[in-house]
Every structure is written in structure tokens, then in C-alpha cells.
């Protein structure tokens, strides 16, 4: 069998489909100041984010927050861990700024020799806007791993990591899926 025709979807890789991480509580809670910075950065002036009286009169009955904001809440660096940014540059002065940052709830790596990583796309499913004061819980899972063959005849993988976000009442907030190509 030539290198070009070797399958990348080995039994060990297939076995990762469905593997879940722990349910992790994100550091902190959904708060108005983070909401202000986030919505200004995405350039969304919706008064449902900041005018309490108006927000309470809407379909949602309260101040709302952008659904995807919780994904960045979940990736916060906890203050009770060593500063990973400083460590990254101590280990490698040419660090890209993210290489050594450990995130809670990460999944075990997919056992493949394909090391080049490309962003293949994203999916969002939205069910409820997080409320101010919500604690956010999240869980990662490999929801799908597929094999494709490139124009050069070499097999590559499309790995989809699904993350489910809930709040302290176990209400489903949103589900995100991020797919990466491994060549």
C-alpha cells in the first residue's frame, strides 16, 4: 500500500468519536462589564444588552447576552494557575502567544501523525441567551471524525469538536461545533 492510499482513519482515531471531556465550570460568571466589552468589540449596540428597563419589556424579559460570549468565558485563563503567557515566552521567545496556554476541559489528542491544523468551519445552535449572573458549564466531545482524500491523493481528517454550554439551572444555552482539518 502506498503512502498516498493509507487511511488516516485508523481504528485508534475512530475510537475517539464520542469521547467527552469533563463538565467544567467556567471561571467567574456572566457579568455586565464583560458584556459591555464584548458587545462593543463585536459592534452590537442592541439596548437589550444594557437598558434594563427596556430589556425587561421585551420577549426575553431581562438583559440578554450574546450566545457565543460563553465560549470565551469558558476559555478564560483561571487566575489560580501559573501565568501561561509569561511561561510561553520563557519557554520560547518567539511564541505565537497561544502555544502553551492550557485550557480547562480539553479533550485528549487524536492519535494521528497528521500535524498540520487548519480551520474547516464552525456551527452554532442557539437555545437561550445567557443571563447576567449565570454560571456557565461546558463539556467538549469529539462529535465526528471523517476522512477525505486531497487532490494529491493523501488522506486527511476532518475532526469536529462539539461543545455544549449550560447554566447553573442545567438549561441548554448553545452548542458549538468547530471542525479542523488535520493534514
Amino acid at each position: 500500500m502506498t503512502q498516498e492510499s493509507q487511511s488516516a482513519l485508523t481504528p485508534e482515531v475512530s475510537a475517539m468519536i464520542g469521547v467527552s471531556g469533563d463538565v467544567v465550570e467556567a471561571w467567574g460568571e456572566v457579568d455586565g462589564e464583560y458584556l459591555r466589552r464584548f458587545t462593543q468589540a463585536v459592534m452590537d449596540p442592541d439596548p437589550r444588552y444594557w437598558d434594563k428597563e427596556f430589556a425587561e419589556s421585551t420577549h426575553y424579559g431581562e438583559i440578554i447576552t450574546p450566545p457565543i460570549m460563553v465560549s470565551y468565558l469558558a476559555s478564560r485563563i483561571r487566575p489560580d494557575q501559573d501565568d501561561p503567557v509569561t511561561r510561553a515566552f520563557e519557554e520560547n521567545p518567539e511564541s505565537d502567544g497561544i502555544g502553551s496556554i492550557e485550557r480547562p476541559g480539553e479533550l485528549p489528542p487524536v492519535p494521528t501523525n497528521l500535524v498540520r491544523v487548519l480551520n474547516a468551519g464552525n456551527e452554532l445552535e442557539i437555545y437561550k441567551y445567557p443571563s447576567i449572573g449565570d454560571k456557565v458549564f461546558f463539556q467538549n466531545r469529539y462529535s465526528d471524525i471523517r476522512e477525505r482524500v486531497g487532490r494529491d491523493g493523501r488522506a486527511f481528517l476532518i475532526i469536529t469538536r462539539e461543545t455544549t454550554y449550560t447554566n447553573q439551572k442545567d438549561e441548554l444555552l448553545c452548542i458549538t461545533r468547530a471542525s479542523t482539518i488535520r493534514r
Binding site: G97, N122, I126, R177
Partner: protein, 186 residues
């Protein structure tokens, strides 16, 4: 007057900026409901036009605590990663999508699903056009489901984020869309 996407892309970059339809706070406060009954295949959504600067990129990096240097360190981007400039974040584009769908479905519709790919490297100086177009619609469980083609094009017509979305609109005279959203059973 809202220009069709095809016509917008015939304009010079500076002229495109004049056709920005991003709503102000009061527009969103007073948004009138679009009902399922009013939607037709081929209908275009308003175009949100952005002109991201290095400062916008830095503000986004800071807001979401993304320390990747390709987004704010020009020397690193040019000389280490060989990028054409600092790069607009995929995460920012991803965050515009639910905002865009929310705004269109306000005040009582629901931006349920979206999927999209990231293509092309976007840099400060690119004029970016968030766009959407109705591709089909169907009723289910007394709710109106609308399928959209969405994307974010550059001023020279490069599609950087091809995708699709499903939003839910109330039927004229029908019940409110449930909140939190519960999709009807298959």
C-alpha cells in the same frame, strides 16, 4: 434604499461604506417584526458593512482574551507567519453571525442555527460585507422556519465565510416563538 449584493459589489470600496445598514441602538429598540408570511425566496437581508482597523482587532483580542500575535503584532505576522498583515479574527466573524441573525429576527423571532467556513485572510483595509439571502422556508409546529445563505464578502467580491443559517419567525397571527427556544419534534 438597500442595494442588492450584486450591485453593491460593483461599487468602489469607499462607496460601499455609504451603504452600511448596520442598525443603531434605537433601530433595534424599535425593530418591527418580519413575519414568516412576508418572507420570499431570494429576499436579501440588510448588509452590515465593516471597515476593521488595527484598533478594532486589538479591542476584539482584548475582549475575548485571545493572545495570538497574528492579530496585533505586525512584525510577528509579517516576518514569522509570513502573513500579509495582522489578521482579522475568525472568532470576530463568528460572533457577527448570531448578531446579524438576531437583528433580522427581532423582536420575537429566533436565530436558531448557523454553519460556515473560514476562507481567505482578511486584513485591515478590507471592507467587509455581512450578507444573507433567503433560500427556502417551511412551517412546522406553528412556527416559520427560514433557510438562509449567508457570508462575509470583501469589497472585491471574495467570499471569506460561506455558510447557511436557519432562523425562526412567527406566523402572522400565530403564537410567539418559545423562549428559551424549543424546536418542534420531528
Amino acid at each position: 434604499m438597500s442595494l442588492p449584493l450584486e450591485e453593491l459589489l460593483k461599487l468602489e470600496a469607499e462607496e460601499i461604506l455609504a451603504h452600511n445598514e448596520r442598525p443603531k441602538a434605537d433601530d433595534l429598540r424599535n425593530k418591527q417584526q418580519i413575519y414568516y408570511d412576508d418572507v420570499e425566496e431570494g429576499m436579501e437581508l440588510p448588509k452590515y458593512i465593516y471597515n476593521p482597523t488595527p484598533t478594532h482587532l486589538f479591542r476584539w483580542s482584548a475582549a475575548i482574551e485571545n493572545f495570538h500575535r497574528i492579530h496585533y503584532d505586525l512584525d510577528f505576522g509579517l516576518n514569522h507567519d509570513r502573513n500579509p498583515s495582522i489578521l482579522v479574527h475568525g472568532s470576530w466573524k463568528q460572533s457577527v453571525v448570531p448578531q446579524y441573525l438576531k437583528d433580522w429576527t427581532l423582536p420575537k423571532g429566533w436565530p436558531w442555527k448557523a454553519q460556515f467556513e473560514h476562507r481567505a485572510m482578511l486584513v485591515p483595509g478590507d471592507i467587509l460585507i455581512m450578507w444573507g439571502r433567503v433560500t427556502s422556508k417551511y412551517e412546522k409546529g406553528q412556527m416559520g422556519f427560514v433557510e438562509l445563505e449567508i457570508g462575509m464578502k470583501t469589497h472585491d467580491g471574495i467570499e471569506s465565510m460561506p455558510g447557511t443559517a436557519t432562523v425562526v419567525l412567527p406566523l402572522r397571527g400565530g403564537p410567539d416563538i418559545p423562549y428559551p427556544f424549543v424546536p418542534p419534534a420531528d
